[in-house]
């Protein structure tokens, strides 16, 4: 198998940039920032004013090299994000004049039952997908780790769902869970059970969306856990086995505690991606107001917050309200991530 990913070649951290500058001057690391001193080679009186500018000019190739990112970032990300803050306080349909409305959008948001419904939907779908996903991933990783054969094949097979387009997967799930003709209902009928109207019941809609996300990301998380498992020294396991620990005990007392930082990482990543579910319900149920007034499916059961945002901004052309929704939601995700982080961190193994 390829080299253990933990021993990556990359020394991490943004502060490790002590590369050799073209001058090799050790001063160059210190002398930027507010308390800048003129380079010592030059007489202080002559160069103090033009010095910094000269220095910047000398580094033009470096600045030129990094400028594409900053130009693109400023124009298409930084400015728009700030502008979204501005928009959240305006009433604007995208064509006419803007009207400043202060916190009115947010007050409306606070009282908007559909917004809260969408937040609840997002949370339910996220919990229903993340919990089984991470548990199954961990079990899968332990199982694959214990077999010695075909690991390369397992990896590819487990990884493929995560690179498949969400649109393709959503269409597939839509077909398989279809009320009348879906494979799942056909199997249920074959087992002499009654068919389930998956796509019209409030809870089954959430289940289908969660199953879709679980299917897509379980293997990916399993591979991340697998990489972590391979970094655990096998002596630990042997010692535990000598002490008479069973597989469950070993799993709980060695595997899980040692994987904790990686589990934390997967929890955070799954939170951030899981809370942003949009494509799944959008493809499954569409969002165009003209054709589908119940955006998000029957009873708006699949209306996630991002789908609601898209619906308000690009179907209803209520850009101001859309901006308010997306900012409120971003702060909400941050809150969830912080709470999550705290919760998982607190599970310290007691001494």
């Amino acid at each position: 198998m390829s080299s253990s990913p933990v021993a990556g070649p990359a020394p991490s951290g943004p502060a490790s940039g002590s590369g050799t500058g073209p001058t090799g001057s050790p001063a160059s690391d210190r002398d930027h920032g507010p308390g800048r001193r003129a380079p010592q080679i030059r007489p202080v009186s002559a160069g103090s004013r033009r010095g910094p500018r000269r220095r910047v000019a000398r580094y033009w190739p470096q600045y030129l090299a990094i400028s594409p990112y900053y130009v693109i970032f400023t124009v298409f990300m930084l400015f728009p994000v700030l502008y979204t803050v501005f928009l959240a306080f305006q009433k604007w349909d995208g064509i006419g004049d803007m009207h400043f409305v202060g916190f009115q959008q947010f007050r409306f948001l606070w009282d908007d039952p559909v917004f809260w419904l969408s937040v609840r939907n997002t949370l339910v779908i996220w919990v229903l997908s993340t919990v089984p996903m991470l548990c199954m991933a961990l079990v899968l990783a332990v199982l694959v780790n214990s077999t010695k054969r075909l690991t390369a094949f397992y990896r590819v097979a487990l990884f493929i769902p995560s690179i498949t387009s969400l649109v393709a997967i959503a269409i597939f799930f839509g077909a398989v869970f279809s009320n009348n003709f879906g494979l799942i209902n056909a199997v249920l009928r074959a087992l002499h059970l009654s068919a389930v109207p998956w796509m019209s019941n409030e809870w089954t809609i959430k289940l289908v969306i969660s199953a879709l996300m679980t299917w897509q990301w379980t293997g990916y998380n399993a591979i991340i856990y697998l990489a972590g498992l391979q970094a655990i020294p096998s002596e630990l396991y042997e010692a535990a086995r000598v002490d008479g620990a069973g597989p469950v005990r070993i799993f709980r007392s060695i595997t899980v505690p040692l994987l904790r930082p990686i589990i934390l990482f997967t929890v955070v990543i799954s939170t951030v991606t899981g809370m942003q579910s949009f494509t799944e319900p959008q493809v499954l149920f569409g969002s165009e107001a003209a054709t589908n007034p119940n955006s998000g499916g029957p009873g708006q059961a699949g209306l996630t917050t991002l789908l609601y945002f898209y619906h308000q901004a690009f179907d209803n052309n209520d850009f101001g309200y859309g901006a308010a929704i997306v900012w409120a939601f971003f702060l909400f995700i941050l809150l969830i991530v912080v709470v999550n982080w705290r919760l998982v961190q607190r599970k310290e193994p007691r001494p």
Binding site: S2, P11, P68, Q282
Partner: protein, 259 residues
């Protein structure tokens, strides 16, 4: 093993659906094995959607985005990894901290910007905003720092090579493995992107595959076999690219988690 079956089963079933007629799948009990109607389904698909135009749009977007990302990110990464220049740490800090901003926060003004530039409905609206990304610069910088020997750079400098010659003749050959991962990663992301094309490509005959497929599915009386033929055709190229590079790709993709 069950995990593998669950992972792979949908692909099998997509092929089953795409090679049978809808009637065969709707029939009870449904057909569980490949049929011979793939060509008919594909023909129906081509009647319903401009498949090749969508495909070429997707390919153009994915290839252009990938090429630009590889060039811009490796160039910026070289500057960050091997040079000191004023405000470098500040600039890199900005780059890292802005990475957490989700793209949805920017999408309404982005739409307006594209309207103003006259790019709405064109592929430029998808390629240009994606042409440089923070993750890529961070990734390439890590690799460049450790894998491009300073002695090699110094030797080339003595020969009189400047920044861009060093980049082209010394750095690029050294960072090829990292470029391979970043390239596939960017390509897959661009190929699969949905929300940005959905918003920007207002012109119905200039869609990417993902948007075109989603619209195909939206109807009420969906011909599943036809749609599945489309799904199959849209997934195959990606799965091929991926399996070809899979080993290195998976190892690199997990590195991000373990750093």
């Amino acid at each position: 093993m069950t995990g593998v079956v669950i992972s792979v089963f949908p692909f099998y079933w997509i092929v089953v659906m795409a090679t049978n007629t809808s009637q065969d799948i709707y029939r009870y009990p449904p057909k569980l094995w490949f049929g011979d109607h793939l060509l008919t389904n594909v023909r129906h698909l081509f009647d319903k959607m401009a498949f090749f135009s969508s495909l070429s749009n997707t390919v153009i977007v994915a290839v252009c985005t990938t090429a630009l990302v590889l060039f811009f990110d490796s160039l910026a990464a070289f500057a960050f990894a091997k040079y000191d220049f004023p405000a470098k740490k500040f600039l890199f800090g900005v780059l890292l901290s802005m990475y957490i901003l989700p793209t949805q926060l920017a999408i309404i003004p982005q739409y307006e910007i594209m309207v103003q530039l006259g790019w709405l409905g064109t592929l430029k609206a998808l390629v240009v905003p994606a042409a440089a990304n923070a993750f890529g610069i961070f990734w390439m910088r890590q690799y460049t720092t450790s894998s491009v020997p300073d002695e090699l750079l110094d030797a080339a400098r003595i020969e009189g090579a400047g920044f861009f010659r060093l980049y082209w003749h010394v750095v690029l050959p050294c960072v090829r493995p990292a470029l391979a991962f970043l390239g596939i990663y960017t390509f897959i992301a661009a190929w699969n992107d949905y929300i940005l094309p959905l918003v920007m490509l207002v012109n119905p005959d200039r869609l990417t595959l993902q948007v075109a497929l989603a619209q195909l599915y939206a109807g009420h009386s969906t011909d599943y076999s036809m749609v599945m033929a489309g799904v199959l055709l849209s997934v195959i190229p990606l799965v091929l690219v991926f399996t070809f590079f899979a080993r290195g790709f998976i190892a690199d993709a997990t590195k991000g988690a373990l750093r």
